[in-house]
């Protein structure tokens, strides 16, 4: 018995040795959790206001919109790989752009449903009424959705290029961005070197804007401009990256290999 257990253990160790993505799983989640909740604690220490719960609930809903929109792209195309349907899709007379667009729209639907359910739950459980600021928060929700699409496109391009080994990125990439997106704490909490990086992410501006809107009850328009400007840049870069990766994938024959594995 122990011989078989040892053999299986060795097989998993080989896998971890050969896969950076799998190796990252061992320490990735704990490190990210530590970072996020550590900064939250710092924030709470500085905060002497009862708004913390409101901010956190808003952040949870907004973060979920981001998470669902990027996953709609990555999971939809990964699903085609898992059920060996990828070639059927790619030999149909559809543009790659159309495939990506369909998954983006799926992301919109998923995010809308998810945000609605979370909004209702937040209202029911915590009397957190997202609708009182509904219209003011919509541009922020739209902005975070766009960034989810950009991240989803990049992640999917990597999966098409590197295959099953990169699938952990579907769940991992959003959490790689979470600590520097100032989702659950203001960007001011971050050390200065991380703050500079954080301000390059649309999510940071969205969460800052969301907190300002929730705090004042008035739409905070200032963070919207950098958020949408950065989204435009990231969507353009993500589209170019996806296109470049697709041409590499076709050149190397990875598409067919991935689809028939």
């Amino acid at each position: 018995m122990w011989g078989r257990v040892g053999a299986l253990l060795l097989r998993y160790l080989y896998l971890y040795r050969r896969s950076l993505a799998r190796s990252m799983e061992i320490f990735f989640w704990p490190v990210m959790d530590l970072l996020v909740w550590g900064f939250v604690t710092v924030y709470f220490q500085k905060l002497a206001a009862p708004r913390a719960v409101v901010f956190l609930l808003g952040a949870v809903i907004f973060w979920d919109v981001f998470y669902r929109s990027q996953q709609a792209i990555t999971l939809s195309l990964s699903e085609e790989i898992w059920v060996r349907n990828l070639l059927n899709v790619f030999i149909a007379p559809v543009r790659t752009f159309e495939i990506v667009l369909a998954t983006c729209l799926l992301g919109l639907i998923r995010a809308t449903i998810s945000a609605s359910v979370l909004g209702l739950l937040a209202f029911g459980l915590y009397a957190f009424d997202v609708t009182t600021l509904g219209a003011a928060l919509l541009p922020y929700l739209a902005s975070i959705l766009l960034f989810g699409w950009a991240v989803g496109m990049c992640t999917m391009a990597l999966i098409l290029r590197f295959g099953h080994a990169a699938e952990a990125l579907i769940w991992g990439t959003p959490f790689l961005l979470q600590p520097i997106s100032a989702a659950f704490y203001p960007v001011a909490v971050l050390p200065s070197f991380l703050r500079s990086i954080a301000l390059l992410l649309p999510t940071t501006h969205v969460f800052e804007g969301m907190r300002a809107t929730l705090a004042t009850g008035r739409p905070a328009l200032a963070p919207l401009l950098p958020a949408f400007a950065l989204n435009a840049v990231y969507l353009a870069l993500a589209g170019a990256f996806f296109g470049w990766m697709m041409s590499r994938v076709r050149e190397k024959g990875y598409l067919a290999r991935l689809a028939m594995e």
């Binding site: 699903e79 085609e80 059920v83 060996r84 349907n85 990828l86 070639l87 059927n88 899709v89 790619f90 030999i91 149909a92 007379p93 559809v94 543009r95 041409s247 076709r250 050149e251 190397k252 024959g253 598409l255 067919a256 689809a259 028939m260």
Partner: protein
């Protein structure tokens, strides 16, 4: 389309992957209504050739023209008029057969989809599985559903990669008959790969043998047998697979 009636023209097609030549200066053509067998041992370059013809993989050099249109610049227009089925790919197993065919019918812009789907299911003798979840079908039924998908857009060229690989002899014979019937009635050109040499003799008008990425023999099954002085294509296959040559 050219004056020779060729719907598919392949010229000096070469594909190298990191220094390994998978397809090496391959040239051939296929006429309208012809069933062309693409044969060879594992690793001969058959699958890579089909991928190149479908534009899934970009060639290192050479040209592919389908209906006189150059790949990859007219890829979408070409894909609208061709289709593909392989024993190694599948349709989503969590959708019903009808849902799967409906999705692909829409992707190909098929009109009167319900009628067409019903006709295809009838043609492949699986009308009773329309509402069954694809994952619950037998492998023979899955293969026939895949073929229904391949015929959805009424293709002018059909690429079939080992279409009868998982079928029992009875169903395989029915599939072959259906393919021959469609070829006769619709003038479909079929590029057919199989390791079943008896099947190739029965189905194909002409065959191309590939070995190590190169075309090593081309002609009708009868011509190949005469040139190889062999009694069956299986013997020819074994000769080629073991590095032998035929005239």
């Amino acid at each position: 389309m050219t004056g020779t009636g060729a719907v598919l023209e392949v010229e000096h097609l070469t594909k190298r992957f990191d220094g390994v030549t998978a397809v090496d200066d391959v040239s051939f053509s296929a006429r309208r209504g012809e069933i062309l067998g693409l044969l060879g041992p594992n690793g001969a370059g058959k699958t890579t050739t089909i991928q190149l013809l479908l534009g899934l993989t970009a060639p290192t050099s050479g040209h592919v023209r389908v209906f006189g249109l150059e790949l990859p610049s007219h890829r979408r227009a070409i894909l609208q008029r061709v289709n593909f089925s392989s024993a190694y790919i599948s349709l989503p197993f969590n959708l019903s057969v009808r849902e799967n065919l409906e999705v692909f019918g829409r992707l190909y812009g098929v009109k009167d989809r319900s009628e067409r789907i019903a006709r295809l299911l009838e043609m492949f003798e699986i009308p009773d599985v329309a509402n069954t979840v694809t994952g619950k079908l037998s492998s023979g039924q899955v293969t026939r559903v895949n073929l229904c998908k391949a015929f959805l857009n009424d293709p002018e060229i059909l690429f079939l990669d080992e279409p009868t690989a998982s079928l029992d002899p009875d169903i395989a014979e029915k599939v072959r008959s259906a393919l021959k019937r469609v070829q006769r009635e619709r003038g479909v050109t079929i590029l057919y790969t199989s390791h079943n040499m008896r099947e190739i003799e029965l189905v194909c008008d002409r065959v191309i043998f590939l070995s190590r990425g190169r075309v090593v023999a081309e002609g009708t099954p009868r011509e190949i047998l005469e040139r190889a002085d062999a009694e069956s294509l299986e013997k020819v296959f074994i000769t080629i697979a073991r590095g032998g040559a035929i005239r």
